[in-house]
Symmetry: C2
Subunit: 260 residues, 2 copies
């Protein structure tokens, strides 16, 4: 859209900075607001017709509640948080402008959008939603449009379960007390990939992953399911009968790869 | 070595076929013996000065016990099994020839040895061990020379723990009843990689992985450690305090990536 000016709160790091770069490449004027630098929220709401909230989950609601009421009716308030129910509800409640929840399913190190997955939750939007979707699609991202509820349910698997699973393996290996460098010499390609996944969480930004876990409404269910499922696997493998393990695998495989 | 003729029992599939291709590329004469085709064991022991056992773990001992006594003293009996204690013990007991245990830490789909990991356990070998090691090293594999005991202990992590961990995730996802194709649309790069790891076990050759699990002597210990460790993680995440999760991660991270 013509004369679109974008403001990103939390645009000095992580996905905010990544999104700023994408929008600048698309020719837009982008203003940033970080914790200690950049444009103030009041100026941002006045000057920008799109404001993007990209701050840690733990402070997302308070930032939305501060900027939402300042946004003119015809502007867009959106977020990049990895949860959608609570932030979208907060954006709807705090503002009277257009609202779209957005979750890019990748990290800021990604250099091309091509083939990457993006989830959009249009909550109150007629003008801006097609504009936003087009930006991702013209860059060949795979866009899924859904509700915040469905998004958070799927993320209880793609993020909560996935991160728990990686942290759990890292804890077992940590217990064994063998450093990464030694483990790596003995690794298969899959094991090495898993060591890299552990490193990404343990070494880079553990607080990001901790926030994703503790803020997802489905956490308890996933933890219980994870524990109970291992009980079943444990029972079968301890019998040390290969054919029973194969039978168990085949049963689950039929759910994941149903014959078409 | 001059006039080296190699026989591979189980050379018509998987790693046996892969090893045959490597040796032929190195200029050696290689004979194969499969379940229903190729050279018989007696002829193989008579004609070949190196015999490689590459059959499923469950029948490795009986194949070694059949061929071992036929091997001349100056020849080499070796295996490619993913366990080393029991097969190496069996090779030493059944023969009076040279014995080396070998475990390539990758699958037959690998197209170059460069950077791949190979474990060698020289058990009774003066002539043939340097020959074998040189074949891997000239192809730029990373060779680790160790005892069968140390190998099996490391493989209780690299294989038993790793495969349990992958199968466990596959079972949780199978329980959710969402097919791979749908899950994949919502995946992050790490989650997609894990779906591929699950597919590799569930879709390709579950019996191979089942055999690796049920035959490793450390299975019970790993299962118990895996269950108890999740208990600790579960306790911490359910409190929903991000800083406690970060604290837990940092403690484990210090074991895996000690400050040098």
């Amino acid at each position: 859209m013509k004369d679109t000016v974008i403001g990103i709160i939390g645009g000095t790091g992580g996905m905010g900075r990544w999104f700023a770069e994408l929008l600048r490449k698309e020719g837009y004027e982008v203003h940033l607001s970080g914790r200690r630098q950049g444009m103030g929220k009041e100026d941002m709401a006045r000057i920008c017709n799109v404001v993007v909230v990209s701050v840690p989950i733990g402070v997302t609601r308070e930032v939305i509640e501060a900027v939402g009421p300042l946004m003119p009716k015809e502007s867009l308030l959106m977020d990049l948080t990895s949860l959608k129910e609570d932030p979208v509800r907060a954006m709807l409640d705090a503002s009277s402008c257009e609202v779209v929840g957005c979750h890019p399913l990748f990290g800021p190190a990604v250099t091309t959008l091509s083939g990457q997955h993006v989830v959009l939750c249009p909550a109150r939007s007629t003008l801006w939603f097609p504009w936003l979707k087009e930006i991702f699609e013209k860059n060949h991202a795979v866009v899924t449009v859904t509700t915040p509820e469905k998004h958070d349910r799927m993320m209880s698997l793609v993020q909560v379960l996935n991160h728990l699973h990686t942290i759990h393996l890292g804890m077992v290996l940590g217990h064994e007390g063998i450093p990464y460098e030694e483990l790596s010499r003995w690794s298969t390609p899959v094991f090495e990939a898993k060591l890299q996944f552990i490193g990404k969480i343990f070494q880079e930004q553990p607080s990001l992953y901790a926030e994703i876990l503790v803020n997802n409404p489905h956490l308890e269910r996933i933890c219980n399911l994870y524990r109970e499922t291992f009980g079943k696997l444990d029972n079968v493998v301890k019998d040390r009968k290969a054919e029973r393990v194969v039978e168990l695998i085949s049963k689950q495989s039929a759910f994941l790869w149903p014959k078409s």
